[in-house]
């Protein structure tokens, strides 16, 4: 049984591509067969974050327009043999693909893979519609910022109206110290407004950027906290109950040392 999982957000730059790359790696490392599809046509970058940029020969638009077979556009990951990427076209625009193309393509992959992860572009237009058309499940990524949450709300409303069901939420780039100072929305604030199930909270973490530049997603780094958060989300996606990270336990060492003595 395959699950087609689309990651969307509304607002740009909140961490959709980062989430797709990391969840793909984490799911594949846990033994699942995974294909990711970069749905951000014209602005592809999933290939860069996964470090597969140099291996691209064919892309999604080539498949849709019949210039190659589906298998030819699937790039095998460097580290994980059961992980593949179908890259986006860089030189075309999102109108080169239709929602029904995406449904057909995913139907061809269903059955053979456990997960088909789709990276949606920002916005709520054609590219987004393409990305959600084949989805069985949608995960919305947001940041603890009012504008990002407002856009997530909009996207959730559209998904509900299009009868895709209520998505689950990843809150990315949370800074526990700022939350404690009341300078940042907390996970509770965000969930309170959006009224959806939260499937993970990922801390702000420099390792994410370093890893992205290296083309080796942070979920492969056993020491990184953001990596751990993504691995936990992958477990929850698989239906395995996994406790949330205590994100502030490194905020103040003294507090932690004395916490037990109160």
């Amino acid at each position: 049984m395959s699950t087609v999982l689309t990651i969307g957000s509304g607002k740009g730059g909140v961490g959709k591509t980062t989430a797709v790359a990391n969840l793909a790696v984490a799911l594949a490392a846990s033994g699942d067969k995974v294909v990711c599809i970069d749905g951000d046509i014209g602005l592809r970058n999933l290939d860069v974050i996964m470090g597969l940029e140099n291996r691209i020969v064919y892309d999604l638009v080539d498949v849709v327009e019949g210039r190659c077979r589906l298998r030819q556009a699937m790039i095998r990951d460097k580290h994980l043999p059961e992980l593949y990427l179908i890259p986006a076209a860089q030189t075309r625009d999102k109108n080169a693909v239709s929602p029904s193309d995406m449904v057909r393509l995913c139907d061809e992959l269903r059955g053979e893979y456990d997960w088909i992860l789709i990276d949606s572009p920002a916005g709520i237009e054609r590219g987004f519609k393409n990305a959600i058309a084949p989805a069985d499940r949608v995960v919305v990524v947001t940041n603890p910022e009012v504008s990002a949450v407002r856009d997530a709300d909009r996207v959730i409303g559209i998904l509900e109206a299009e009868e895709k069901g209520t998505p689950s939420l990843i809150l990315n780039r949370l800074n526990p110290i700022m939350v404690k100072r009341h300078d940042m929305l907390s996970a509770d604030d965000v969930v309170d407004l959006l009224a959806v199930k939260i499937i993970g909270v990922v801390p702000e973490d420099e390792d994410v950027i370093v890893a992205a530049n290296r083309g080796s997603p942070v979920a492969l780094d056993q020491k990184s906290r953001a990596g751990q958060a993504f691995r936990n989300i992958a477990q929850r996606l698989k239906g395995i109950d996994t406790p949330f990270l205590a994100l502030d336990d490194q905020g103040n060492l003294w507090q932690r040392l004395f916490a037990g003595r109160k």
Binding site: S98, P99, K129, R150, D151, D153, R154, I156, G157, I158, E160, A161, E162, E163, L193, A195
Partner: protein, 227 residues
């Protein structure tokens, strides 16, 4: 009746086309419409379309699917007109207009319109950012109205939840209209022509009702004895 006997009525509006569907099975009508558009591609290409579906009761999936199919053909669906309340609600949920012209808020309507407006639209879900519900009568929301959502009612508005978006009651000039909510912290609240901006957030919200009194918006606790 077979599909081939069905005909569409097409009328040009100022900046869009109004297509009126005959009665019949939705699948047939849908096919007919898409066929006509394909046959007369150059006529329809780039058009904004208002669709009058008569008494047809349509689900969100019907309309969103049609909207996508139309958009593939370069036609933008912007309004769905219907006598069916279910279809009206569907259109509103998808952010489509349900009337051709917006009423001008400044001009007070004749009393006849007020009587006609004494009906309520029942919305049993949370309105999220970007959603707009407009209705000539009252609007009752069983859920929250999130920031970025908008409610425009000819009559009063009741929100059994948190009102944090934009609300306009008495939109056609009715100063008798009121707005009440379990937690009233709208981005903007209007009754008839009077506007109030977001009040301060309270720590422990109480249900409140806002009315127009001597040309001013006044909020009071919303209690059974206050009616």
């Amino acid at each position: 009746m077979s599909a081939s006997q069905l005909t569409l009525k097409i009328k040009g509006l100022r900046d869009s086309l109004l297509v009126t569907l005959p009665e019949g099975r939705w699948d047939d009508l849908r096919g007919l419409l898409l066929n006509q558009i394909q046959e007369r591609e150059s006529f329809f290409k780039g058009a904004r379309l208002a669709l009058d579906v008569g008494v047809q009761a349509l689900h969100v999936s019907d309309v969103s699917e049609l909207r996508d199919a139309l958009s593939e053909q370069g036609v933008a669906l912007w309004a769905v007109l219907s006598e069916s309340p279910a279809t009206e609600k569907t259109a509103q949920l998808l952010g489509l207009a349900t009337r051709l012209a917006r009423p001008t808020p400044e001009v007070p309507r004749a009393p006849a319109a007020v009587v006609e407006a004494d009906k309520a639209l029942w919305v049993d879900k949370t309105l999220r950012s970007g959603m707009r519900v407009e209705y000539p009568g009252h609007i009752v929301v069983l859920g929250d109205v999130n920031p970025g959502a908008e409610i425009v009612a000819g009559g009063s508005v009741i929100v059994w939840g948190r009102l944090r978006g934009v609300v306009h009651a008495g939109a056609e000039g009715n100063g008798e209209a009121s707005v009440c909510a379990l937690d009233l912290s709208p981005q903007q609240l209007r009754i008839a022509g009077e506007i109030a901006l977001a009040p301060k957030q309270r720590k422990t919200p109480v249900p409140e009702i806002v009315r127009l009194k001597d040309g001013q918006l006044v909020a009071e606790p919303w209690r059974p004895d206050k009616h």
